[in-house]
Amino acid sequence: MKASILSADEMRRALTRIAHEILERNKGAENLALIGVHTRGIPIAARLAAKLQELEGVDVPLGRLDITLYRDDLSEIAKQPIIRETEVPFDLSQRRVILVDDVLYTGRTVRAALDALIDLGRPEGIQLAVLVDRGHRELPIRADYVGKNLPTAKSEVVKVKLTETDGTDGVELWDLDEIQSVRE
């Protein structure tokens, strides 16, 4: 590992701040919905929902989105052919949707997620929340809520770890070579 970017406490504070920003910008939590993008966007969305409940006493509906069928980088899918569940158990119309992902990088995942969402219904608006924005956008996409802005090189990898998926909380920066040698 090259550097620790966020500790568990810093991650918790960043998500608390995002929850406050969401409430401020939307003037409360009415008519909001949180939709997490597989894999790590889902637990992050759930944590934001818990914070909104704590701060505002509103149960914001939660959904999960798999964007595999909407990707434009087919070679990436070949490595991961299993499509996971998309579950949006509420009507999107009349709701402002906050799309949640762990890392914002090229913007291609978000582009695919926007297409997937719009095929499910017509939300009143869509906002984007990410834990880390690492730059290098290839599409005109930006996040509305960012936990941490992190300038990176393309030869680096941002690893987000969450208790729900990885047993521990934290964000780390690695070199691509380093990760490949660990895998080997």
Partner: protein, 308 residues
């Protein structure tokens, strides 16, 4: 998934259990897509699927064409009757010409066993066998397996009785190949003249007694009996056949209460299956049609995604 990804779906020879399970798992997602207001995803955008039916089958062709369209592929169909095949063009010429149009995948139905393999040799592109003679009809077996899996949550340890004209049935052969791979037992049942001994294998047993066949069955599949079989002397008359082998409520009284009924279609009502049973609570025949579209979407996805 260490073995190489299969290039075609001609039969199940190159498909290991993990690949098959992944294909069926993804069919769950495809079914969800079919339930949405927008019944279409862009996964195969820019690709062209050609259905090549040397033997007519409107249902199967529509199922494949809709599956391809719902994945955003473009579809062209080649019907042999209306084409130069009737003027004597060979399969090879036909496929090479279609390939030159930059088709990305072929779905092939032919009356001769092995035709899909031949197409695979000349196409240079993925081929899905939509039925070749009596040999194989793999997507039908996949949709049967998927329907049973959805009903019972899995195939491991399940028993499937297939009753009827086994001899002339590619559906029976493909199911006898697929279901044991997925952990199920197959019982093939029909009059001795229509029950070839060589199909017996581990997990595939034969019987001429339909009551015995359905006794422990979780699913009972009736096969289509065609009039030509009477003419060729395999069975005496439709009435004689139906009296013993028709899948109906009298026969199902010998089956477990939870057993479901399948039919690959099109049905000859009151010949191989009674109308009452076809429309009754055990019938999953329309679910098979719906599942077929999802399974074919998943098949196209598995063969076409991640290729150039």
């Amino acid at each position: 998934m260490t073995s190489p990804k299969p290039r075609h779906l001609l039969d199940f020879q190159d498909w290991n259990v993990e690949r098959l399970a992944a294909l069926l798992d993804n069919a769950d997602t495809m079914l969800q897509v079919l339930d949405r207001p927008v019944k279409k995803v862009p996964a195969l955008q820019g690709l062209t699927v050609c259905t090549v039916f040397f033997e007519n089958s409107t249902r199967t062709r529509i199922s494949f064409e809709l599956a391809a369209r719902r994945m955003s592929a473009d579809v062209v169909s080649f019907a042999a009757g209306a084409s130069s095949v009737s003027k004597g063009e060979s399969i090879r010429d036909t496929i090479e010409v279609l390939s030159a149009y930059k088709v990305d995948a072929f779905v092939v139905r032919h009356q001769a066993a092995g035709a899909a393999h031949l197409v695979a040799r000349y196409s240079g592109k993925p081929v899905i066998n939509a039925g070749d003679g009596r040999r194989a009809h793999p997507t039908q077996a996949l949709l049967d397996a998927y329907t049973i899996r959805r009903e019972f949550g899995g195939l491991e340890g399940k028993t499937v009785a297939i009753i009827g004209d086994v001899r002339h049935s590619r559906v029976a052969r493909s199911n006898a190949e697929l279901l044991p791979k997925l952990g199920a037992k197959v019982i093939l049942c029909g009059p001795a003249t229509l029950l070839p001994r060589e199909l017996a294998a581990e997990s595939v047993t034969l019987t001429t007694d339909p009551r015995e066949a359905v006794g422990n069955a979780d699913a009972v599949m009736a096969l289509r009996l065609q009039q030509e079989r009477m003419d060729a002397g395999y069975v005496g008359s439709l009435q004689d056949y139906a009296r013993v082998y028709q899948v109906n409520e009298d026969l199902l009284a010998f089956a477990p209460n939870e057993a479901v009924v399948l039919h690959p279609g099109p049905m000859n009502r009151d010949v191989e299956i009674s109308s009452e049973t076809a429309d009754g609570p055990r019938s999953r025949i329309l679910a098979q049609v719906e599942n077929g579209q999802a399974v074919r979407m998943s098949t196209l996805y598995h063969l076409l995604v991640g290729r150039n």
